[in-house]
């Protein structure tokens, strides 16, 4: 589904990603861990098409298409989804209007008819339940005045609405209380199908108790320096990153 080869990216002249290789197949769950500032969010942003970053080398194939060649909106329409580490507040754009526009533009791209008003509302209701999001939140402007945890839940709600093929959740667990974490994790698990895949960026083993990854990768200084099964996350939880950093020197 996703094939990243030797990906290098810079921002303001500084090279942040320095040769990433990663393969994600349908049905898989990958976790990416790594110290602060190692480039995890940068990788997610580059994949989503944030033009602030410049790709200097490498390739990304997404379901047979050259992902880097697509506009951000076309990436989303091809089934790519990023749950932002820092979701943006957009006063004046209602959640409902936002979701209706996004969903219908995606449908149009795929040559499907737009949802009727009542079908759309039904879908909203259904997906709200899935992530147990307060009804009141979807009546407000996008993320405006949402608490940290509410913003994260809202990302998963959007994911549930848009039903992507590949989702990258960038620290969606940070800021969630214990119950919310369980609810969000359950939501992600329920959305799981043999034909979609998820990449979890996280600092904590805790999330991985709920959503069990097939692979755990460590990103360090812009490279994936270690990949293993879910046991790697336990090891990191116990011993931190020092031993990996040492191995690198």
């Amino acid at each position: 589904m996703l094939k990243i080869r030797n990906l290098h990216a810079k921002i303001e002249g500084k090279e942040i990603l320095r040769g990433i290789d990663l393969d994600v197949k349908a049905g898989e769950i990958h976790a990416i861990m790594g110290p602060n500032g190692s480039g995890k969010s940068t990788l997610a942003s580059v994949l989503a098409g944030n033009e602030a970053f410049e790709v200097v080398e490498g390739s990304v194939e997404f379901n047979g298409k050259d992902l880097l060649d697509l506009s951000p909106e076309d990436r989303a329409r091809e089934g790519f989804f990023l749950s932002f580490q820092y979701p943006v507040e957009i006063p004046g754009v209602s959640m409902t209007n936002f979701m209706r526009t996004a969903l219908n533009e995606q449908k149009k791209y795929r040559g499907e008819a737009p949802l009727s008003a009542s079908d759309f509302l039904k879908l909203m209701r259904d997906r709200k339940q899935l992530v147990d999001i307060d009804s009141d939140l979807t009546n407000r402007s996008v993320n405006e005045g949402f608490s940290g945890g509410e913003k994260k839940k809202n990302e998963i709600f959007q994911m549930a609405m848009l039903d992507p093929k590949l989702a990258i959740l960038d620290e969606t667990d940070s800021g969630l209380d214990i119950d919310a974490l369980r609810i969000v994790a359950n939501g992600v698990n329920k959305l799981r199908r043999p034909d979609n895949a998820t990449i979890l960026i996280t600092h904590y083993q805790r999330l991985l108790d709920h959503i069990v990854p097939d692979f755990v990768h460590v990103l360090y200084k812009g490279k994936i320096v270690k990949s293993a099964g879910k046991e790697l996350a336990y090891e990191l939880e116990k011993n931190g990153y020092d031993w990996i950093k040492k191995e690198m020197e």
Binding site: A48, G49, N50, E51, S71, P72, E73, R75, A76, R77, L82, F84, P87, V88, I90, P91, G92, V93, N97, F98, T101, A102, L103, E105, Q106, Y109, S141, V142, Q158, L162
Partner: protein, 459 residues
């Protein structure tokens, strides 16, 4: 001040046509021309050297060479039929003016008893006592050359009178149409009187219906008496060959409420002079505006809020979305008189510039002579938020659609100020159409069903 050759030509034009101008006007209106003549001979049409007109030079437009709209200029009531049938989208009392003249055939029969809404020329003769009391009391000829010019040439316009205690729930919609084969100068005069405990909602829709060039100088005086309420809306949707100076002078008494909203969705050059005097304690006003302009359009909102007495509140919010090489200006004067204690005065002007060529001048001018005052003002000029832009696109929304969502999000605060729900919905739609670039192309205005026009080619 030295008068320009055009000022002198305008004076001559008045002298030559005085008989025609005065023929059907009320004696008070004619009497006021004396003072106007004197004032105009001192002021002329203000150039951009006049501080208040620094950002908008109108001298070049107000030439005597334009035909004056003394009558309907050939617009027959037949010709107006085409839009009358389109006007029923807003449940309102509807009045029309063509080139500044009231046109019969409006649906105002059902107005509450005693409430008047109709021709200024006629009603000013019917109500000499109101005219004596109010005409020219707020829009003073000696303070602005445009008021002097208007007072010289004024013959007709709209007169609205809501007597004590009367509540007019449905909006009174005034459709001001500019039309005809000839380029025209129009001096329209309006008077709105809302007496004690009375309420009115008034909407002015300004439109162009033919491709001629129009130079418009409108003066509206609005009196809001004790515990009265006036909701005033001005919707400007004119072609780019229009130059309009609109003066709106309001006076408020004790515990009165004024909401005044200015939507400039399309025009050539627009200058709004918005004056509001809070003259009785606990009077409150909310004055807002939204201008959405592109190409070479120019909008200048000049406002003067006068806190003459203690315990009043004013709220001012003007927002602009400016594309291409459009230019704009905002001046927000707030005056707080020496004994006007416990004044609350808030003002902000925010602008979204979509290109590097769009230019905005914004200046707050605060003159505060009382010490117990809460006053805030702020002005911003910025671009669309690129983080928000990326967030929307990352969900599959195209750049164009994201642009529209964000422009609308910027503007919506002003739309929220509209107090009449049906009108709010229609203006919301209209603004969205404007952002989609469909307004000057589209065939009608959703508020009053006006046919649109194409573009007038620039000179």
């Amino acid at each position: 001040m030295q008068l320009s050759e055009h000022d002198i030509a305008l004076q001559r034009l008045f002298a030559e046509n005085r008989e025609l101008i005065e023929k059907d006007a009320a004696p008070e209106v004619n009497a006021a021309r004396e003072g106007a003549m004197e004032a105009f001979s001192k002021l002329g049409i203000p150039s951009s050297k006049v501080e208040a007109y620094k950002y908008t030079n109108l001298q070049a437009w107000f030439k005597a060479g334009y035909t004056q709209a003394y009558g309907l200029n050939g617009a027959t009531s037949e010709a107006l039929k085409q839009f009358e049938c389109n006007v029923h989208e807003l449940d309102s009392y509807t009045l029309f003016t063509v080139n500044g003249k009231f046109v019969a055939g409006s649906n105002v029969e059902a107005l509450p008893d005693g409430v008047e809404a109709g021709s200024f020329a006629e009603l000013s003769k019917k109500h000499p006592e109101l005219l004596k009391r109010y005409y020219g009391s707020l829009a003073k000829v000696e303070e602005d050359g445009f008021v002097a010019l208007n007072t010289l040439f004024a013959t007709d316009g709209i007169f609205i009178y809501v007597p004590k205690g009367k509540v007019v729930e449905k909006p009174i919609q005034v459709v001001n149409v500019l039309t005809g084969e000839q380029d025209l100068m129009v001096n329209q005069r309006n008077l709105i009187v809302v007496e004690e405990q009375a309420q009115a909602r008034v909407l002015f829709c300004d439109h162009t219906m033919s491709m001629s060039r129009f130079v418009v100088n409108t003066v509206t005086e609005g009196h809001v008496a004790e515990s009265a309420m006036l909701d005033f809306y001005n919707l400007q949707n004119q072609h780019n060959g229009t130059v309009q100076v609109g003066a709106y002078h309001f006076d408020q008494e004790t515990r009165s409420l004024l909401n005044a909203n200015y939507f400039t969705l399309h025009t050539g050059v627009a200058r709004n002079n918005i004056f509001s005097r809070l003259g009785g304690p606990h009077a409150e006003n909310h004055i807002s505006g939204l201008y959405v302009i592109d190409k070479n359009q120019h909008v200048d909102n000049f406002s003067f809020i006068n806190h003459a007495v203690p315990d009043c509140e004013s709220n001012e919010l003007f927002k602009g979305v400016m594309d291409d090489a459009s230019t704009g200006a905002f001046t927000g004067r707030i005056f707080v008189a020496p004994d006007a204690q416990r004044t609350n005065a808030y003002q902000s002007n925010n602008n979204l510039l979509l290109t590097e060529n769009a230019k905005m001048n914004t200046r707050p001018q605060l003159e505060i002579y009382a010490d117990d005052v809460k006053c805030s003002h702020g002005a911003t000029v910025g671009q669309l938020d690129e983080h928000a832009m990326f967030y929307l696109r990352a969900r599959g929304i195209s750049k164009e659609e994201a642009n529209i969502l964000l422009m609308y999000a910027f503007a919506y605060e002003v739309i929220e100020k509209i107090q009449v729900p049906a009108l709010k919905e229609q203006i919301r739609e209209l603004v969205e159409k404007r952002f989609r670039g469909e307004l000057d192309k589209c065939d009608s205005c959703v508020v009053c069903g006006q046919l649109g026009t194409g573009r007038v080619k620039s000179e």
